[in-house]
């Protein structure tokens, strides 16, 4: 297999401050919404940086896998870029869910409350929002609002992202490699992003 270990810088670094701003905004919004007396989310900025670095490493590995010696010149499409961002976020999990120790019993009861569900799924929700924004950014019909996804599909997408996150957690990956299982994840998610774009954008 062709290998090029010389990491190149990704151009999408130009968005990284915006993605961090989004993460900070999501942290504030969720903590206003949830029951902050017992549960809250906390953005870990070191892990946020790590997730973005993981994207860059994975992007380069995936490009060399696809294009080999032409990797530096060729580009991958937006669906695969979004797929790699989602996987990097879910692998690193930049948000922590914090529970006040004396309130643990209350939190277990509140776990089924939709108000608190978003807090427990904060990393999945963040990956979801990044996908929406990047599809919006590539939308050629500017001036439209950011698209929404209907309730049932949105629920199943979050369930999928949750399972991907748990799977990556078990694998303890430091980057999304060109191993077959990772390639399946990248391509499957890229196809889903493509179909979401076809339906909603």
């Amino acid at each position: 297999m062709y290998q090029d270990d010389e990491q190149k810088e990704c151009e999408s670094k130009i968005w990284w401050d915006d993605i961090k701003k989004l993460a900070n905004g999501l942290e504030s919004a969720l903590n206003k919404k949830g029951n902050k007396n017992s549960i809250f989310v906390q953005l870990n900025e070191t892990k946020m940086d790590l997730a973005l670095k993981m994207y860059e490493r994975s992007w380069w590995i995936f490009k060399t896998f696809i294009y080999r010696e032409k990797a530096e010149k060729e580009r991958i499409d937006r669906h695969k870029i979004i797929s790699l961002y989602i996987l990097s976020i879910l692998a690193i999990r930049p948000f922590d869910v914090r529970v006040h120790p004396q309130k643990k019993e209350i939190v277990y009861l509140e776990n089924t409350d939709p108000e608190n569900r978003d807090l427990f799924l904060v990393n999945e929700l963040f990956a979801f929002r990044v996908m929406q924004i990047l599809l919006f950014a590539w939308d050629k019909n500017k001036g439209k609002k950011i698209f929404g996804i209907n309730g049932n599909e949105s629920k199943w997408l979050l369930i999928l992202l949750n399972n991907i996150k748990l799977n990556l957690e078990n694998m303890k990956v430091s980057f999304i490699s060109s191993d077959p299982s990772n390639v399946i994840s990248i391509l499957s998610l890229a196809q889903i992003v493509y179909y979401i774009e076809q339906v909603y954008v």
């Binding site: 499409d77 929002r129 950014a137």
Partner: protein
């Protein structure tokens, strides 16, 4: 090969040494990540302003 837009020959492919089909797209993304950077910023600002569409 047929690509997503049913264009013949815009996508080529090879079978590598492990028997895996690898696509070699010839029609790269026309709009680059740099081109969409202002829209990413706009999207982030919009989402924050609208409280992330939390229900």
């Amino acid at each position: 090969m047929i690509d997503r837009n049913n264009n013949l020959e815009s996508v080529s492919a090879r079978i590598n040494e492990n028997g895996r089909l690898q696509l070699i797209p010839e029609n790269n993304e026309e709009v680059s990540v740099v081109d969409v950077a202002p829209a990413v910023k706009e999207g982030v600002d919009h989402m924050i302003a609208n409280n992330f569409f939390l229900e």
